[in-house]
Amino acid sequence: MSLGFQKQLNILDYGLASLWRRKTKNICVIIVFSLVIFLLSSFQFLTGALTSVAEKTLRFAPEITVQRMVAGRQEQIPLAYVAKLQNIFGIRGVEPRIWGYHFSTVTGANITVLGLTSFDKRLEKSLLVGRLPRFGQAGEVVLGQGVVRDLNLQNRRKFALFRPDLSQKTFTVVAEFKPESELLTADIMLMSMADGRDFFNMSSDFATDLVVQVANPAEIENIARKIGQILADTRVVTRPQIQKTYSLVFGWRSGFGSVCLLTSLAAFIILAWDKASGMTPEEKREIGILKLLGWQTSDVLAVRFYEGFAVSVLALVLGCTLGYVHIAFFEGVLFRPLMFGWSVLTPNLQLSPEIHLTDVLLVTCFSVLPYLVATVIPAWRAASVPPDSAMR
């Protein structure tokens, strides 16, 4: 072992022993420091995991969705618009949909009702038990797990909900979506388009929106532009727009994200200010003694650097571990009240956060670096005065 390395190892030993002598204070610093990092890393892991799920899943979102806008709000779209789109080259198909929300006055839940003109056979793989609704049979539905919990059906297969005119419509549950898909289907009640129309008392000439399938994904933007020109009173939402929204919507720019970031920053600034405002007389005396014994200023700085490094690295690893456990095993339970707000139907998240180097670097920049600077600068000021005046 080289002499220089042995020297640094001895200095590290001295620094760690010095930390241990003031263990109560340092353990308190590590705990507070870890909690701040826990907040930062939890938010980073949660938003990272949600962005990742959205990125992977929404690659299969509708290529183009056409909505009719009246007075800046979405309104029902006439089915006559379908014929106007048929002549655009590159469109593979246009499917009208009926969807909307049913507010349960009993539980306060908002159920998303979705009515389609056809069901793809592949959907059967996503069902827990049962089958897809049959188009000849009125009132057959597939429920998401959140709706099942909200309706508290237990073994019953039939239930009734109120239409807008307060008449009742009876439904039969023919299947449930698997719990693994709750992040997409927790609040969905899937039925045929005829049932959806009947439930919302909608005219047979209208739908909620139109889903346009495009033959060549590279042509999505061109076709969307043409649709916008032909149907001037519509809003055309494309798949890339949906993907872009979800790549930006979770992050530090949200209100809660800013609160997390500012809280952590404020905590670090207070900590750094407390450290930088000066060392205790005991610490100054210790530096004076070390210098009298022949230690160089650089050695004193190395001790303080190693002390700060040990505290901040330990707090970083502890904080990140707690943050990971919080998101991966406790579904971000501390963030749920804010993330879901007053929602009654909430999904089980089952997220698997991915650890990116950028996340770790971001947390490190906000935690370890300020702490190191705040530790070393006052030590350098104290170490640069003569030993006899430092001891006085």
Binding site: L50, F60, T112, F177, S181, D187, G255, L338, L345
Partner: protein, 93 residues
Amino acid sequence: MFALRPASVFALVLFGLLLLDMSLVGHTLLQRNSQREQEMYILTETLGISDLCLATEARYTRHLTLSDGIAPFMDHPVALEHFPSGSFYGRVE
């Protein structure tokens, strides 16, 4: 009696924590189910899903991409946006 030097104790503690981290990440990766992911893709494609089901309290938090943008006074001239989950999401562009 053999005693470890402080640097070795610190290295051991750090190593133990990193080992714990690796086993946690490994456990989560093993839990990841490719069949589940495949089913999610099919659901998105066949149902035409455009949004994740997170906050169901308001239409503009349930369907971020298909509903009107989040703005104060959007529902009524004197109604501020007041749903708590609205503060969790960034601006929809």
